[in-house]
């Protein structure tokens, strides 16, 4: 018996996605449901949790929902994507600290933006080139993402706290947030 398995396009492109317009920005995060999309790379969970804790304390975000991709090297699968779009107001996704995962993290962000969900994609600065190239290939060259200092995966909790400190101001800028709770 032949088993057929769908092949994933590593760019996530399925044709026709040329919209390079950002989704409407929230201005304030107060009460918003935030989706944290963990791509399974080491320290992704901790980094996302640290960022979300800051956003709850200083910007009054509402519910925090956790999601986990099944593989870091390709864009999010449609079933999980649709679930997240239906459940959250904004998405933060991390962490792109390798060639394939930085590209996929940016691709995920673009998918959510095109679905109307403001999104912050986080990569490490060593892989900015990969993330930017994905944005170019996706027809969204102006897509902005957060770049924290490389590395991320090998850090202890104290240093991840430092990466979160780097990420939060940039995340707020990308989200267009101007109001503190």
């Amino acid at each position: 018996m032949t088993i057929l398995e769908a092949l994933l396009d590593p760019t996530g492109a399925t044709g026709g996605e040329n919209d390079s317009t950002l989704s409407p920005r929230p201005v304030t995060l107060a009460g918003l449901t935030v989706g944290l999309l963990d791509n399974t790379k080491p320290n992704s969970t901790l980094l996302l949790d640290e960022i979300a804790a800051d956003l709850r304390r200083d910007y009054g975000i509402g519910e925090i929902k956790h999601y986990v991709k099944d593989y870091f090297g390709t864009p999010i699968k449609d079933e999980l994507f649709q679930q997240i779009v239906s459940e959250v107001d904004i998405v933060i996704t991390a962490v792109g600290d390798c060639g394939s995962c930085s590209a996929a993290t940016v691709a995920d962000g673009i998918l959510f933006e095109r679905a109307g969900i403001p999104t912050v994609s986080i990569t490490s600065d060593s892989f900015a080139m990969s993330g930017q190239a994905m944005a170019d290939v996706q027809g969204f060259p102006g897509f902005q993402f957060v770049m924290v200092e490389h590395p991320v995966a090998s850090l202890d909790a104290e240093h991840i706290r430092g990466r979160a400190d780097q990420a939060v101001p940039e995340a707020l800028r990308i989200l267009g947030v101007t109001e503190v709770a």
């Binding site: 870091f72 060639g99 080139m129 190239a133």
Partner: protein, 82 residues
């Protein structure tokens, strides 16, 4: 003959990025105005971390823009799946 310095300089950032995942980037001339970029895995290479080919091609075609050369194609390590 390709201007070795200009091609090396153009690809330097990408070479550094690939090295972070354990890959070695080299290049060779392909005719008078094109280069082939070759990616080889080192012992410590992260197989799942390899930049997808369309992304790699985009990066290198753009990087070679300021030089007199164009990208002919990219050769991935044997067995690379993307």
């Amino acid at each position: 003959m390709a201007d070795v310095t200009s091609v090396d300089d153009a690809l330097a950032s990408f070479r550094e990025m690939m090295a972070t995942d354990g890959y070695l980037l080299t290049w060779a001339e392909a005719g008078s105005d094109k280069v082939v970029v070759k990616i080889a895995a080192t012992d410590g290479a992260c197989e799942d971390c390899l930049v997808p080919l369309p992304i790699m091609t985009n990066i290198m075609a753009k990087a070679l823009g300021p030089t007199a050369y164009e990208l002919d194609h990219v050769e991935l390590p044997p067995g690379a799946t993307h």
